[in-house]
Assembly symmetry: C2
């Protein structure tokens, strides 16, 4: 989808802004295509299918990173931790990286620091707006606030379109397991719904935002309430789906308890900064913060209780935005909006490298 | 306020990112201060008060724009049309401009085009995120969507914190004119409330966003419903305030009519694009669009009906964001958040010029 978007705009970018974007290689999980002067991006599918050779990441990078071109950028649209583990080497060698892949920024702090150290050493740019909320302006909004000296008090939101959908729909009339089953059939969940229900995807997004705020958080520091019942964490998907209904009663109890208090259930991620003043002064110890992910009871009039079916929503409370938070809301997943976020990062990179947009 | 924010961060920017921002002059309406090597920004107030000389814009610009420094930027925090009229010359000479001043981008199309032509010719950057929604990510979000090939169907929102407040409060129990009077006393309106009630400030913001979408709109093309009653457009503020109560009954009728239909009143700005496909291809005729500003009736459950008191809210409906729009919401005026928006633009400029943030 990203390549299709690029294809639709590359002529305009070249004519209007003199930005000459060349796709010199496309690497899939099994095949890759390399081209010296660039792949005709409007025919990328045909090129990839007809001229593809067996995939080889090392050869791919060697081909893309040539001295005679002013800049090279790797756009990683996988969710692979292996590929994310290569970013530090690429950035250190001066290649830019643009990605929606959460694995690098939510890896352990040792790698995270090495990554940013390599980026500085290599003088390269590393852009990852689409890791949180796809095309929604989340990472850059947070960075703008922080870099201009605002003090972030908390960042909270609904970071999973899947979990937003499940709890927007769940009203007790249909069993929770039936809603999960139906959502899975519609393609709203991952093939294994536990990947959504475990909350780990949300935890990774919180880590990314927390580190952007200067918090030194490890994934293990996030207090995650998994919605995968104990005992069902392993085993086949079919087995999991078959045994999930046994836990419907427990979920129903939570819903009834919330309702008795006039509340609704939502799956929310929250980052709070303990001592925001520490973020201000250079060289000071990193501020400490708390990250939690789980099911919470909210007022029926709470903004998170009234979002559209699969929307994400993020609220930034800061010193400047203290009475009312800054809110960004909208579809936060899906191929078109994710590709749009990646493409916007690519154009941002072009601007950083001197293009006049 | 902007200078205070800058002062709080300049040491960190210099140490952490090697960005050396020098304030070489400060121009007020009556006085200015110029300094060869830069004003100690943490003491700017004292410098300005003690070392100020009579203001002279030409001398100021001549001083700021020197060859031996790599870049110079004018940050215009006025609302002056005269100063906005100078941007083209400054940009053409290679000086960058950062501003929350709406006057240049909402001037006639002839000047608007000259401005952007000069910017290209001068190789300069012109950044104006804070013209709409202050620190909220509005202009850049719209630009990212457009530059990555999305097709904007409509942009609508509540673009005036003042008018948001008036209609959030107005429930018929207190006369509309009393609410205006009270809001004015609290400093929520301009000194002359007609500057808010006329809708022209909202119309200017729509023009800025419409032109960002590629629409060739003049201010006169915006269908503006002014809330200043006919006959009260001129005359003193006191006179206006004294005569406004005569129109309370008419406003009350509108509120009652809306309520009879189960609706609420909100002052909304709307831009719709007639033929979004035209925005795609380079060289094609500009797409045409319609811009309206005025009081509309909305469902009580509409997102615009449920914002916090003085919030702005902007909804982008596009080809990618078609089922659910992308929404940005929060305080859209005030010194701290406006200065934050200007500062973020300044750092964006630094990144475009090679700084590694």
């Amino acid at each position: 989808v990203f390549l299709d978007q690029l294809a639709s705009q590359s002529a305009r970018l070249r004519e209007q802004f003199k930005i000459d974007l060349r796709v010199r290689g496309i690497l899939g999980s099994k095949r890759m295509v390399l081209a010296e002067t660039g792949i005709a991006v409007e025919h990328w599918r045909r090129e990839y299918e007809q001229r593809g050779v067996p995939a080889n990441l090392d050869r791919f990078i060697e081909h893309v990173h040539v001295d005679y071109l002013p800049h090279s950028v790797v756009i990683d649209c996988t969710a692979s931790a292996d590929i994310a583990g290569r970013y530090a080497a690429w950035l250190g060698a001066g290649m830019h990286v643009v990605t929606p892949n959460k694995k690098a920024n939510s890896a352990d702090l040792v790698y995270y620091r090495a990554l940013h150290e390599a980026r500085r050493a290599g003088g390269a740019h590393y852009l990852y707006e689409a890791t949180v909320g796809a095309g929604l302006p989340v990472v850059h909004t947070l960075r703008d606030l922080r870099e201009t000296g605002d003090e972030i008090t908390s960042v909270e939101g609904i970071f999973s379109g899947t979990l937003a959908y499940l709890f927007n729909i769940y009203d007790g009339r249909t069993a929770f397991s039936d809603i999960v089953r139906d959502a899975r059939q519609r393609g709203y969940t991952e093939p294994d719904p536990r990947d959504d229900l475990s909350g780990m995807d949300v935890a990774r997004k919180l880590i990314i935002l927390g580190r952007e705020m200067g918090l030194e958080l490890e994934l293990a520091d996030v207090k995650v309430e998994s919605l995968v019942p104990t005992g069902l964490e392993t085993g086949s998907i079919e087995d999991f789906m078959a045994r999930l209904p046994r836990h419907d009663a427990a979920m129903r109890e939570r819903l009834d308890a919330a309702r008795a208090r006039g509340k609704v259930l939502r799956y929310v991620g929250r980052l709070t900064c303990d001592d925001t003043s520490r973020t201000r002064s250079a060289g000071a110890r990193a501020p400490s913060g708390v990250a939690t992910v789980g099911l919470v009871e909210l007022d029926t009039r709470h903004p998170f209780a009234n979002i559209a079916l699969t929307d994400n929503v993020v609220r930034f409370a800061t010193r400047r935005y203290c009475d009312n938070p800054l809110i960004v809301q909208g579809p936060g997943a899906g191929p078109e909006v994710t590709a749009g976020g990646v493409f916007a990062d690519l154009l941002r990179l072009a601007a950083y490298l001197g293009a006049r947009l």
